[in-house]
């Protein structure tokens, strides 16, 4: 409510035209000269409306400017990128998908076969999918040797059209060296030629620096920073930190224009040219992955302040995670935990784990790159260790009751529930430190169809074990969530497998616990009667959530793995350390039951 002194005063938050106009009139009417004016009169009304519109426009403009002033409220990418620049953060560009292939040069037999054949950098290959062609290239020179059958194994090929830009350094020396939107900035290579008359052989390669730390005045280094409209800009040194380019130099910038995630999953590649007259073949294709879109505005707003908080140093666990996801665009998630949290403790170590987009395990080269990267940013005495993610599958068994009076096929209902569970898993799991809240899963199932009246849903945690057959094995599984010990039924059990008894007969058995911490092998006959075959084949730590099996000889199993199921003690289960919980479609069991709703 307006106080007498504030009558007619406009609040900048007022964006309604009518409100603005009323306040303008009220303000004028406070002044003696205009007190008796008829502001509803047609001429004055037109003037008042005009000024009110003008005022409203100012207020709107102020709101927009104010919004763009801060990182967390900015809406425009240019503003967000500018704020990120102040935080020394370079937003991630589009990333090329990478596939790993064997390149085989077909050199005909004969006495003059060369010792080596050199496949040049940017050797082109093409993949055609759905009428869309994607260009892939090698990123480095590949040397194939006769001794290896002219085969180069596991060669990375990157998606994207290779573009080469030339910029002449102007007389002022401060040229703008922009890289177009769509460039994968990790592919940028810069060469500097003395002048436009220089031959390509005179080009000197400069290296990219991601931090001014360690860059000397004489280093040929360049920096990449974000510019407007999704572009990036190359910045050279100033003579104090890195060498500057000099007027007349020609800057040659080579980079890939990538298609991002659209080029993931490609596995058919055709070389676009021969090498030294020899045809090139592609074999053993590891399908393309890690293609990624540019960082979104929301991601930049989330990561830039956190990157600033790291100061480019890996000290706390959060620092490790932020640096990894900022540096390696192919990582969907990363986690780090100190050795003090490991069991048993491993002081002085930091365990790092990462999940790539669309995959589960990183190639060894990426693991090494990750360790090398964080090692250069962590305290000297700390030893970073990479560990693969520990996948724990979530089994969902839901009994859904639906309104029998409403028409929908049971199959459709099951599909709806299945889709809802899958969506729940995608949204809430599949990452480190995720928590599965059973109540929310139940709600998601309820919401999957208006026909559903209620559901009774149970979850189990599953580890997939692939023991060698017919040999003594000892297996361990850590669920890091306590296991129910109150049930009358087994809370630890396996999927069936074949087991050879002492008398030589082979039975279809499974492992079960006795709720007292011991595991046994049981066999169910055709009538469903259970018989214990072996009574002590392992132990269960219910509180710690660990299961130890063995020594045990598995005779055979018909499935790709033996599933080890546990019933968690609590409704909510949490992934800790390097655990990733995920819901596989095959682990979801949906039962439906029609009920009459009064």
């Amino acid at each position: 409510m307006s106080t007498p002194s504030s009558i007619g005063m406009l609040d900048s938050s007022e964006l309604d035209f009518g409100g603005v106009r009323d306040r303008l009139i009220a303000f004028l009417q406070q002044q003696d000269r205009f007190r008796d004016y008829n502001f509803e009169g047609s001429n004055l009304r037109v003037l008042i409306d005009l000024l009110a519109y003008n005022t409203q426009m100012h207020a709107h403009y102020l709101h927009m400017v104010g919004s763009e002033m801060f990182l967390d409220t900015a809406q425009l990418r240019e503003s967000v990128v500018s704020h990120a620049k102040e935080l020394n953060y370079v937003p991630r560009s589009v990333s090329s998908a990478v596939a790993f292939v064997d390149l085989v040069v077909n050199v005909p037999a004969g006495p003059d076969r060369p010792e080596t054949v050199v496949i040049p950098r940017y050797f082109p290959l093409r993949s055609l999918v759905g009428g869309v062609a994607y260009m892939f290239t090698t990123d480095d020179i590949v040397i194939v040797r006769r001794s290896s059958g002219y085969r180069a194994q596991n060669v990375p090929i990157y998606e994207g059209e290779v573009v080469r830009d030339f910029h002449e350094v102007p007389a002022t020396g401060d040229g703008q060296y922009l890289i177009g939107a769509g460039a994968d900035i990790s592919s940028v290579r810069v060469h500097v030629l003395p002048s436009s008359a220089s031959s390509p052989k005179e080009a000197v390669e400069w290296t990219r620096a991601t931090s001014v730390a360690g860059v000397r005045a004489t280093d040929r280094a360049f920096f990449v920073q974000a510019a407007s409209s999704g572009e990036y800009q190359i910045v050279f040194g100033n003579g104090a930190v890195g060498l500057p380019v000099t007027p007349g130099n020609v800057v040659r910038v080579t980079y890939r224009l990538a298609a991002g995630s659209a080029a993931n999953g490609l596995s058919s590649f055709v070389p676009m040219s021969a090498v030294d007259g020899f045809a090139v073949g592609v074999e053993n294709v590891d399908a393309s992955r890690f293609g990624q879109e540019p960082e979104t505005i929301e991601d930049i707003k989330f990561r830039a302040p956190r990157f600033f908080a790291t100061q480019d140093r890996a000290v706390t666990s959060d620092d490790f995670e932020v640096l990894l996801t900022s540096k390696f665009p192919g990582l969907e998630a990363a986690v780090a935990f100190g050795g003090e949290a490991a069991s048993p403790p491993a002081y002085g170590k930091v365990f790092i784990s990462a999940k790539p987009y669309g995959g589960t395990v990183l190639p060894n080269t990426s693991k090494r790159a990750i360790v090398d990267f964080v090692k250069s940013r962590s305290p000297l005495s700390i030893d970073p260790v990479y560990v693969d993610p520990d996948f724990v599958f979530v089994g969902v068994r839901t009994n859904v009751k639906y309104d029998a009076a409403r028409t929908m096929s049971v199959t459709d209902l099951r599909s709806s529930v299945q889709l809802a569970v899958d969506a729940f898993g995608s949204a809430n799991l599949n990452r480190f430190k995720a928590a599965l809240r059973r109540s929310r899963l139940i709600a998601a199932i309820d919401d999957s169809s208006p026909l559903i009246v209620s559901n009774d849903t149970r979850v189990e945690l599953i580890k997939r074990l692939s023991p060698p057959i017919r040999s003594d094995v000892t297996l361990g599984a850590s669920f890091r969530n306590s296991i129910d010990v109150t049930s009358q039924h087994p809370t630890v059990y396996s999927t069936p497998f074949w087991y050879q008894t002492a008398d030589g007969s082979v039975l279809f058995v499974r492992i079960e616990d006795d709720r007292r911490g011991r595991l046994m092998i049981v066999h169910s006959d055709s009538q469903g009667s259970k018989r214990t075959i072996a009574s002590n084949v392992g132990t269960v730590d219910y509180a710690g959530g660990t299961v130890s099996i063995g020594p045990l000889v598995v005779h055979q199993y018909d499935t790709p793995w033996i599933g080890l199921h546990v019933v968690p003690a609590r409704d909510d289960v949490v992934a800790s350390s390097n655990q990733v919980m995920t819901i596989a479609s095959g682990d979801v069991e949906v039962n439906v039951e029609a009920v009459s709703v009064p």
Binding site: L28, Q31, G66, G339, S381
Partner: protein, 533 residues
Amino acid sequence: MTSNTARPIERYISPMIASQLPDVYREEGPAFVAFIKAFYEFLEHEMSPIGQSRRLLEWRDVDTTLDQFVSHFVAKYATGLDAGLVADGRQLVKNSGSLFASKGTAAGLELLFRLAFNADVSVRTPSDNILRASAGLWEVPRYLEIEANDLSPLMVGETVVGSDSKASAIVEDFLRRQVGGKIVNQLLLSNIVGNFVVGERIVCAAVFDAMSGPVVVGPTSSIRAVSSGLDYAVGDTLSGIDGTGSGARAVVVRVGPRSGAVDYNLVSGGSGYTLDATVTITQTGNTVPAITEAAGRVSRLSNTSVILVNADLLTAFDAVPLNAAAYGFAKLPAANVNTILDAALTTNAIEVGTIESIVFAPPGSGYSGAIQIAVVEPRVAPFAVFDPIDGSRMGNNAVVEGFAQIGRGAIEQLRIVDSGLGYQHNEMFNMVRTAPTVRNDAVLVQAFNETQGFGQGSWRRTDGFLSSDQFLADNHYYQEFSYEINTAVSMSRYADIVRRMWHPAGTKMFGKAVVDLQINADLQITSAAASTL
């Protein structure tokens, strides 16, 4: 061309409206002018869009921005710190860079506790107290003694070079120490390359002009046993007991036998002796076929006093007639019967006293049985002055019983283990055995100040000491990657914040509560107490 001088943004334009409009408006349409002015006043109000847009630059500054905008600065520059950590968001934003940059350091933890709890904190690393086998570090101080110079303290931290030896070292400290009645200037050195030599100058370009540095005068760098008794053993430790310096210590590194060396018992030290008294050694009794003669001299006096003695004894002028034209005195050769005595005769002030010890160097060999040792002070004895106490003749009244020394364990070589301070080059002084047992008879030694000396040494740390303040590693508290936070704040309050903001991954955190004592120092003195005082 634009000017670089920024003009302040005019906050209020409305007062200028009238002057900005053409005259015709002011003359013909004052209502219009007033209307426009009123509209601008409306826009320029503090809460209005124009009024606020003119303050945008203020809002860009965390110190002058609106209170409701501070959270935006926190979200950008201090993310992770905003969970109720600090009440003053502006302060937090301005310090966040320092806090982030100092993660994992003691300084960073102090800043975090200051910002979050306004509390003091210290960090202890248990790894400092882990017992490490053979981890002791024996540190021997090395030093030079130099002449006094007011600029000497400025050499601390500088590299110095010997002018002649070209030896170099870093000066760790400069100390002025009082030794006896004199001041000794000591330079503690490290990183010594080569050997400095006594007598050269210390060159330190950062402090002194070229070649005007102080001269090296010591300390004692080696020592020689002049004479000793028997039954010493290698490893015996000797300590200096007199001389002009203090603190010298040496160990016996070689002993040898004595076969007929001169030794003595001082029955009476007499009086009126100087250190230049004549010691005469005569083999008595048995005739010994082959004697290597010893030489003796007085090495120490007590109860000293200074007396004046005439150096021109009449016996030297027995044949000079009284009426000779010139007597030939040393002081005035032309002196004769007409000259006054004070002008003619030489008078010396000499320090005399009671003999405390006699040195036989060399000690000789081949002596046997009793040996006669006569000690006469030639500048006092001829005057036949009698000691007022016992009536004996001063300068010739010492009673010394000599005998041949035969046995093992005479000290032949010493190694200095502590140069001490303040000894003069070539100075002789006495040392006594202090280990393994104390022995009262003195060993006469001679000091040589030749190069830098060294102190006794000490263990720098106790890492390798059993039953000390060191503990066995337990892979829990006592391990290389643990730290302990000592603060008055409850661990339950800070553990999560520290883990999130500061804790180096891979290390283990412990907390220890310390009592934050605040002593009220107000004194209340009652009148009764005051009167008692």
